[in-house]
Amino acid sequence: MRRLLIGIAFAWIAIILLLPLGTVFAEAFRDGLSGWLGAVTEPDALSAIRLTLLVAAIAVPLNVVFGIAAAWAITKHDFPGKTALLTLIDLPFSVSPIVSGLIYVLLFGAHGWFGAWLEEHGVEIVFALPGIVLATIFVTFPFVARELIPLMAAQGRSDEEAALSLGASGWQTFWHVTLPNIRWGLLYGVLLCNARAMGEFGAVSIVSGHIRGETNTMPLHVEVLYNEYNFAAAFAVASLLAVLGLLTLALKTLLEWRHRDEIAATGR
């Protein structure tokens, strides 16, 4: 019975995860290494890679700050509107990414609420970098907060209260007590947030405008290539995205392995 269950689990993972992943790499290298290199070093592809990295570099740190602040407020303090805040944090999970993208077009697009004002002042949001960053932030903001809230709730407040009773300021308590207590959960949240920020398609697709070499991120570039029946190039760029995901996973495993003694000793 046990063998059967384990067998089913592995077979399922193989079909659902490994087979498609393998296909991506097989297709990506169909024209050999030089074909793959050509596809990912082509100017539009390079521009998509740069844009994706830039968007993640802006969105992830902001969501880390927001996620820590929200989790800290919700788990260590009591205030009116706490339940409402908790529900709002989940909003991006429950709303379709397409809708999130449309919201920004509705607000900042040429015919949107603030569109005329923005145009007068020469500020470009939709179909430009700011829109892509905003959409990415919206879609990825629950990851860090959601990872931290159960962890911080389980840890309670007494470590922080101990630090305060020992004369620590709020900041000292945060840096020396709270942050070390949550670092592993935080790391995991950051990695998930980053993976999603780089891979986000729906919301970004709406606000980006698909301008080749300018506002196409890697997932959008893959779609464009695919729609042009340029399968080898599409899979080549897709394989890069897949590698980013695998690297994220490898990095997490490596960090956990290198610090395993410390994790075992501190129980965190």
Binding site: S158, G167, S169, R268
Partner: protein, 238 residues
């Protein structure tokens, strides 16, 4: 240092946790706050510590009104039921924490801090445990470390919230004696919360019995047994 609580009230959303409580504690006293759960004893202790704040009433340390002062500025030591040691720091760094975070100008020299940590480890009889992490210690040892940490900044007042609640009977007895000895040696004024009247009577010079947010009686163990002031006190102690 004397502690005076004047007409203190505190409500938590629906029910009153403290209802017009007054209490006067002489310098050097060792006072137990005793009562069933929900009687308000922990709330009273936390308000004295500055971890909670009253809706009305005042609290004075000596002649100084500290009602509005946050915990960090009250110069108290606090010991938690579940130790609340910092898991990522070893025993030495836990004990030194209160000194390490002081402003540069007030902070003692590195060598002085090290000396102080050694003295405190000796005081709680854990001389050889400085490099260990909390997870590698037993419950009784952790509570000793927590006690040493609370004493590092030489507080005049020591507050303990069910300090032996998570420990077995034998360790509890040992720690009780150790705590009493330290209290007398340093000349602290101490308040501890407990729901165990044996413990309250064994350790406290005076015992305050709380029930539904009020102090039913405050006196020496002998007074409480011989002349219980209310029916609640009589039935609670038997």
């Amino acid at each position: 240092m004397s502690i005076r609580v004047e007409r203190m009230s505190k409500r938590f959303s629906a029910y009153p946790a403290l209802d017009d409580v007054s209490l006067e504690i002489a310098p050097g006293a060792f006072v137990a706050l005793l009562g069933p759960s929900g009687s308000g004893k922990t709330t009273l202790l936390r308000i004295v510590a500055g971890l909670d704040f009253p809706d009305s009433g005042r609290i004075l340390f000596g002649d100084e009104d500290v009602t509005e002062k946050p915990a960090a500025k009250r110069g108290i030591g606090f010991v938690f039921q579940h130790y609340a040691l910092f898991g990522h720091m070893n025993v030495e760094r836990n004990i030194a924490f209160g000194l390490d975070i002081m402003k540069r100008r007030q902070r003692p020299k590195r060598s002085e801090i090290r000396k102080r940590v050694e003295d405190l480890l000796r005081l709680v009889q854990l001389e050889t445990y400085g490099k260990r992490f909390p997870a590698q210690l037993s419950g009784g040892q952790r509570q000793r470390v927590a006690l040493a940490r609370a004493l590092a900044r030489e507080p005049r007042i020591l507050l303990l919230d069910e300090p032996f609640g998570a420990l077995d009977a034998k360790v509890r007895g040992e720690l009780r004696e150790a705590l009493r000895a330290i209290h007398d040696e340093i000349g602290l004024t101490s308040i501890f919360v407990t729901h165990d009247h044996e413990e309250a009577f064994a350790l406290g010079d005076r015992v305050a019995i709380l029930n539904s947010g009020r102090i039913e009686q405050f006196g020496t163990p002998a007074e409480l047994v011989e002349r219980p002031a209310t029916e609640f006190v009589r039935s609670f102690l038997t």
